[in-house]
C-alpha cells in the first residue's frame, strides 16, 4: 500500500469516504464544501502516505487529515454561516403528503436546526461534539486526531452539549 498503489488506495476511499463526508459535513455545515474538503483530504492523504505509520489506524490517520483540511478550509473561507433559519419556515409544503414525505421533511428540518445550532458553537466545541457523536470516537482517538488532551476534550464535549441544548431549546421555543 505504501508503495502508492492507487488501486489499493481506491479500496480505502470506498471504505472511508462516507464517514469522512459525514464528519466534514457536520464540521463545515455545507455539503458542497464538505465534498471539496474530503476530496482534498484524500488527495493529500495519498500524497503523504509516506508519513503514515502502519501501527496507526488508517481511519484515525485519515480522519485527522480530514479534520485538518476542514479547519483550513473553514479558516480560509471565513464564510461559515450555516443554513438560513428562515429557509426552514419558507419550505413550500404541499397540500397532501404521504407519511414518508412528511417524515423526511421533518428530519430535514431537524438536521437544519442542528446544523444551525452547530454553526453557532465555537470551532473547537463543534469539532469535539461532532467527533464524539458523529463518528463515535473514544476520547483517546479524539485526542490522537485533534492533538488536544483527553481532559480538555471531555470539558469541550460537556460544554458543547450544554450550549447545543440551550441553542436547540431556544430555537424550538422561538
Amino acid at each position: 500500500m505504501l508503495a502508492g498503489d492507487a488501486e489499493a488506495f481506491s479500496l480505502l476511499v470506498d471504505r472511508h469516504h462516507a464517514r469522512c463526508l459525514r464528519v466534514a459535513t457536520h464540521l463545515l455545515g455545507d455539503a458542497d464544501d464538505a465534498e471539496d474538503a474530503v476530496q482534498e483530504a484524500f488527495v493529500r492523504a495519498y500524497r503523504h502516505l509516506g508519513s503514515y505509520r502502519e501501527r496507526d489506524r488508517f481511519g484515525a490517520w485519515l480522519l485527522r487529515v480530514v479534520v485538518n483540511r476542514c479547519r483550513t478550509n473553514a479558516a480560509r473561507a471565513r464564510r461559515w454561516s450555516g443554513p438560513d433559519a428562515t429557509s426552514i419556515a419558507s419550505l413550500p409544503l404541499p397540500e397532501s403528503l404521504h407519511d414518508d414525505a412528511v417524515e423526511a421533511i421533518e428530519r430535514a428540518a431537524r438536521h437544519d436546526e442542528l446544523a444551525l445550532a452547530l454553526s453557532r458553537l465555537g470551532a473547537a466545541h463543534r469539532e469535539a461534539i461532532v467527533l464524539r457523536f458523529s463518528d463515535e470516537l473514544s476520547y483517546d482517538e479524539m485526542a490522537t486526531i485533534t492533538g488536544v488532551g483527553v481532559s480538555a476534550l471531555k470539558m469541550r464535549v460537556q460544554r458543547a452539549c450544554a450550549q447545543l441544548r440551550a441553542l436547540l431549546s431556544e430555537h424550538l421555543h422561538a
Binding site: 459525514r22 474530503v38 457523536f133 464535549v157 436547540l168
Partner: protein
C-alpha cells in the same frame, strides 16, 4: 462516559449527528460514487508517494553532489581533517592544563648512597632536599612525567601517577637550587612549569596554545 454524554443530548440530536444529512442521503449512491471516482481521478494524476523511512536513492545523493568526484574528495578531506585534529588534540593533552607544585617541606638525605665506604666522611655527609609534589590536571592526559635540573631533563625518569581525582601527582626530592621544571604530557607535549620559589606553593593554568 459515552452514556453520560449521550444523556445530556436529545436522542434525535445524536441520531442526526450519526447519520448523514438528508440532503446528502438523497443524492447518495450515484453522487457518492461520482465523488469517489473524482477523488481517484485526482489520485491517479498524483506521483507515487515515497516512503519517508526508505533510504535515499543513490541518484539523489549524486544530484546533491556528494557522490561526484569533487563531493567524494571533499568528504574524505573533511574526514581526514577531523581524525587529524582529534589525534593532535590527544597528543597534546587536550585543552588547558593546570599545573601545581607544592613544597611539602625539607628532608635530610645522605649525599651518597652506598658509593663510599661506611667509615668514610662521605657516607656521613647529609644534604637537605626539598620535597616537592608536582600535580597536573587536564583532559585527555594519558601519561605525564616531570623533567628538570634534578633529573638532568631526562624524560621517563620521574613519572607522575594518576590519582583518584584524575590528577597526576609525583613527590620528588629536589635540590634547593633546582627551580626550573617542565612536564611532558602524553610523551609529546612539553609544558613549562612555574619555577619553584621560596613560597609555600605555586600554581598556574597553562593555556592550550603552548
Amino acid at each position: 462516559m459515552r452514556e453520560r454524554d449521550e444523556q445530556s443530548l436529545s436522542p434525535w440530536v445524536i441520531d442526526a449527528l450519526r447519520h448523514p444529512a438528508p440532503g446528502s442521503a438523497t443524492r447518495s449512491a450515484s453522487r457518492l460514487a461520482a465523488q469517489r471516482t473524482a477523488i481517484m481521478d485526482r489520485v491517479r494524476r498524483e506521483p507515487s508517494p515515497h516512503v519517508l523511512s526508505a533510504p535515499m536513492r543513490a541518484s539523489r545523493w549524486t544530484r546533491r553532489g556528494l557522490l561526484t568526484p569533487f563531493g567524494g574528495m571533499t568528504l574524505v578531506a573533511l574526514f581526514v581533517a577531523a581524525i587529524s585534529l582529534r589525534g593532535l588534540d590527544e597528543r597534546h593533552g587536550g585543552g588547558a592544563l593546570e599545573t601545581t607544585a607544592f613544597i611539602l617541606g625539607d628532608s635530610v638525605v645522605p649525599v651518597h648512597e652506598g658509593g663510599a665506604r661506611a667509615d668514610s666522611v662521605g657516607e656521613r655527609l647529609l644534604d637537605t632536599l626539598r620535597i616537592v609534589e608536582f600535580v597536573l590536571r587536564g583532559p585527555a592526559v594519558r601519561s605525564a612525567t616531570v623533567i628538570g635540573d634534578f633529573n638532568a631533563w631526562q624524560r621517563g625518569i620521574t613519572a607522575l601517577t594518576r590519582g583518584s581525582d584524575d590528577s597526576w601527582r609525583a613527590r620528588v626530592l629536589v635540590p634547593r637550587d633546582a627551580v626550573r621544571f617542565a612536564y611532558v604530557v602524553n610523551d609529546a607535549r612539553v609544558v613549562n612549569a612555574v619555577p619553584l620559589r621560596p613560597a609555600r606553593s605555586a600554581s598556574r593554568s597553562i593555556p592550550d596554545s603552548i
